[in-house]
């Protein structure tokens, strides 16, 4: 099965491709909406600025195709900014609309801690999810971000704490997301991606 990777014009695409390929997955870079018509699973990678991300999707007419894929039940994994883009909006780009799969707003990390939150951190699970299956409770994941989705929402499977608890892993129906970078999180990160691949097969 081919994994569709959204290529919005920037970001960590090659390393995500490499990580998936090393697990035996076939990937396809998606730059046109019709490429999503037959997609069986979608990865939304991303680093950088929220505004650049949503503009990149809009310019390629991918925004409504992603919503259609979501409605059709196609599994979608958002990574870092890709997770944030699933929300309605972000404090990083007031006035810009995200994909709106979740109605909350992405917020800036508080000013009483170092920001960006860069480095390896642990997460705390509130329930058993698909992405963290068979991963030790004390495992570390690599984070690099200044904004985050709220940790209190229903879709949150695990939070990380940096000044405030924020969404580290989300799962809701066919939507999955990680605020950390699984493609940069060593063997633990590879296990997260393997769990994603297994959950969509």
């Amino acid at each position: 099965m081919k994994i569709a990777i959204i290529d919005y014009g920037a970001g960590n695409l090659p390393s995500v491709e490499r990580a998936l390929a090393s697990l035996g997955a076939e990937t396809e870079r998606v730059v046109r909406p019709e490429q999503l018509d037959s997609a069986k699973a979608i990865v939304l990678p991303g680093v950088g600025h929220f505004a650049a991300f949503v503009a990149g999707l809009r310019e390629r007419n991918l925004t409504s195709s992603l919503s259609k894929a979501f409605d059709a039940g196609v599994p979608i994994l958002g990574i870092c900014l890709g997770l944030q883009a699933m929300y309605a909006s972000s404090e990083e780009a007031p006035g810009d609309r995200g994909l709106g799969f979740f109605h909350e707003a992405v917020q800036a990390l508080p000013t009483n801690v170092k920001s960006p939150h860069i480095g390896w951190n642990q997460v705390e699970r509130s329930r058993e999810g698909r992405l963290l299956r068979d991963i030790p409770q004390d495992a570390y994941f690599y984070f690099a971000h200044s904004f985050a989705a709220p940790g209190s929402s229903e879709e949150v499977v695990a939070v990380c704490n940096h000044g405030v608890p924020f969404a580290a892993v989300i799962e809701s129906r066919n939507l999955m997301g990680v605020q950390f970078h699984p493609e940069k999180s060593g063997e633990t990160g590879a296990k997260v991606l393997r769990n994603f691949l297994e959950s969509v097969q």
């Binding site: 860069i118 951190n121 705390e124 570390y140 690599y142 063997e187």
Partner: protein
């Protein structure tokens, strides 16, 4: 749940080979960058830094090729730089597979470079590298590999760089670099207290205890070293175990 302190090996690269600079007089070959990168990835390094120390225009294509070869070996973050002068230079390094780009001399000459890179790629992708020497009263930033004084106070420059969008400070003590006398912990503590972003300490690492000190007294978020790891004086895993046993938050699982 605590953010782990990071151990970061650094590859100084010249013409596609890892080298050890001896006070800018001679260079010793330390091996192939991709091979060393694979080893550090395996041994539990938290991140890797690759610096183009030739920083010549002719060497640029070779360096980009090195980044590509190194990135292929890694499942951890990669920072690359050396001689980055323009947005396009930074973009090329990130496109080649680096997650972050370091800027140094060119950013002091034209601080706008930091803003441009941060706007395009985000603060988490922009690392200010600053080479620092002690003065009788404070610390001064130097450029061109530590050769030229700038008159800039290191803490003030770091703060300005952060206000322009730098997401991390890679802080090298020129006084300690290559001396094996330990990190300049007063310097790292001073900068860490000044800026709201992570500080990577560099220069002078020799013993496990040096790392413990820079994480405790020096308040550093990460410790960087080159030759002590290349020469296998210290294994990264042994260093990390030493630190974890002494209560420093460290990532031990891979």
């Amino acid at each position: 749940m605590t953010l782990a302190r990071r151990i970061i090996p650094c590859l100084d690269v010249d013409a596609g080979r890892v080298v050890k600079g001896i006070e800018f007089e001679g260079l010793r070959d330390m091996g192939d960058p991709a091979e060393l990168a694979a080893r550090y990835n395996r041994e539990g390094a938290d991140e890797l830094v690759v610096l183009d120390i030739s920083a010549s225009v002719e060497g640029r294509a070779t360096f980009l090729d090195t980044i590509r070869r190194v990135a292929e070996q890694l499942s951890i973050p990669l920072t690359a730089g050396g001689g980055i002068r323009t947005m396009e230079d930074g973009q090329a390094v990130l496109r080649a597979g680096a997650d972050k780009v370091t800027v140094n001399t060119a950013a002091i000459r034209r601080p706008q470079l930091i803003s441009e890179l941060a706007q395009q790629f985000g603060s988490q992708a922009v690392v200010l590298s600053v080479d620092v020497k002690r003065t009788p009263v404070s610390w001064e930033a130097y450029v061109r590999g530590g050769r030229d004084a700038t008159g800039l106070d290191a803490a003030k420059w770091a703060a300005e760089a952060v206000s322009r969008g730098a997401g991390e400070i890679l802080l090298t003590s020129i006084d300690r670099d290559g001396t094996c006398t330990g990190f300049d912990c007063e310097l790292t503590a001073k900068i860490a207290a000044t800026v709201p972003v992570p500080v990577i300490a560099s220069g002078g690492a020799n013993t496990f205890e040096d790392f413990r000190e820079v994480f405790t007294r020096g308040k550093a978020d990460a410790g960087l070293a080159a030759s002590i790891f290349h020469s296998e004086t210290h294994s990264i895993l042994a260093l990390k175990r030493f630190l974890a046993e002494r209560g420093v938050p460290i990532r031990l699982n891979r």
